[in-house]
Symmetry: C2
Subunit: 74 residues, 2 copies
């Protein structure tokens, strides 16, 4: 994955997270609290500027009760 | 996910990656080459000492033709 592809991937990943989070009725603040991370981290992931980790991805999926495939294969 | 949980998660994630990589007949070197990353990065992920990114996870799944769920929910 080159730099441009990664940028496109992260923007799409972030948009999908936002969509799924809102569908599940979570605010950024609630998701951040439930994950024990900063709200700014959620915001940066959703804006596609943070290439978050697999451990955070795993935790997000557990809290939102979604599959990682939903987030990765948007 | 606290520090200990993350450590356990990453070790299990790495072991599952190794298992799936070998099942698919890839050496660490071939997977690293196909991903365009260092072999040491694959080795550190598989040893559970590198909390890799979602972009790298996505690329690994595409190259090995596996689902992210297989890696995350071991």
């Amino acid at each position: 994955m080159d730099k441009d592809q990664k940028k496109i991937f992260l923007i799409a990943f972030g948009a999908k997270l936002r969509q799924l989070r809102e569908t599940k009725g979570f605010t950024q603040e609630k998701l951040a609290n439930d994950l024990g991370i900063e709200i700014s981290q959620i915001s940066r992931i959703e804006r596609g500027v943070l290439n978050t980790s697999v451990a955070t991805l795993y935790s997000i999926c557990k809290v939102l009760k979604i599959s990682s495939e939903e987030l990765l294969n948007h």
